[in-house]
């Protein structure tokens, strides 16, 4: 499951953002300063779960600027939220397609939330993949819904 999610992350970041992630091994550290933006999509079906990502604001800005072809300074917080929500949506959709999941699985509307550095928390390594993206940290997670 995580391997497919990883493949989807590469596909989405490379195609839509012209960013090339590298997977981080457990214990590898990339300095990351908050605030952080977390976005996710709930997937409802025979097993309900949520797929999401967490990035520092600085990376969210780079992603949004690449996505829209604008300057980082011109982007508002709602635009960053929109981009991250769309990213989570694309990852979840592509993931379901790759998994050949049945039509019983439905994507819900993506959501986003700002987190201070101390709220970021730590996830079980079994449920997350960490990437270095343009010298910044990106964390992808899967949680039971």
């Amino acid at each position: 499951m995580l391997a497919k999610l990883k493949a989807v992350t590469f596909e989405v970041l490379e195609t839509m953002y012209y960013l090339f992630p590298e997977t981080l091994e457990e214990g590898e550290v990339v300095p990351a300063r908050g605030p952080f933006l977390r976005s996710w999509v709930n997937i409802v079906g025979p097993q309900s779960f949520r797929i999401g990502l967490l990035v520092p604001q600085s990376l969210a800005r780079k992603m949004a600027a690449n996505f829209l072809g604008t300057n980082e300074e011109e982007l508002s917080q709602p635009e960053l939220e929109d981009i991250l929500k769309e990213t989570a949506n694309m990852m979840a959709g592509a993931f379901l397609s790759k998994m050949d999941a049945s039509g019983a699985f439905k994507l819900q509307t993506p959501e986003a939330q700002w987190l201070a550095a101390e709220e970021k928390g730590k996830r079980n390594p079994a449920n997350r993949i960490r990437f270095e993206v343009d010298e910044e940290l990106m964390e992808l997670f899967v949680e039971k819904g």
Partner: protein, 139 residues
């Protein structure tokens, strides 16, 4: 030849992105219109000629399926090609739309060349003269 394009998506960011990708792809855009849902799209069509519609699936007020149904019931709009822009390619999601008369779909993430190839192909088919009519012309 420039084509009038209508993009329907509840995310303004996504509409901006699709427009940007169309420009990057070199697709020849005439007039550009947009709507945040099916209802707004129908409002645009009331006053403007559109050659192709790119639509999201899930939207508030009037979603992609309801939009396509309305188009198919309208004498003037039923032949406008509709292409879905979707995060999913599962048959259970796509087939109902194809059965409704949607021309094709583009799965996100997409590349500019993919979108151009698809749209050019569809519009090429839409404007190609009927072969039987061409043969019957006697000059």
């Amino acid at each position: 030849m420039a084509y009038n394009v209508l993009i329907v998506d509840d995310s303004a960011t996504m509409r901006a992105l699709i427009r940007k990708v169309l420009v990057i792809s070199g697709f020849d855009i005439g007039e550009y219109f947009e709507g945040a849902n099916g209802r707004e799209a129908l409002g645009v069509l009331e006053h403007n000629w559109v050659d192709i519609i790119l639509s999201d699936v899930h939207m508030p007020e009037m979603d992609g399926a309801a939009l396509v149904r309305s188009l198919k019931e309208h004498e003037m709009w039923r032949h406008i090609p509709v292409v879905l822009i979707t995060t999913e390619s599962r048959p259970e999601v796509i087939n109902p739309f194809l059965n409704l008369g949607v021309h094709d779909y583009i799965q996100k993430p997409f590349r500019p060349e993919t979108i151009k190839k698809k749209l050019t192909g569809i519009l090429g088919e839409a404007i190609a003269p009927d072969a039987s009519e061409t043969e019957s012309c006697d000059f």
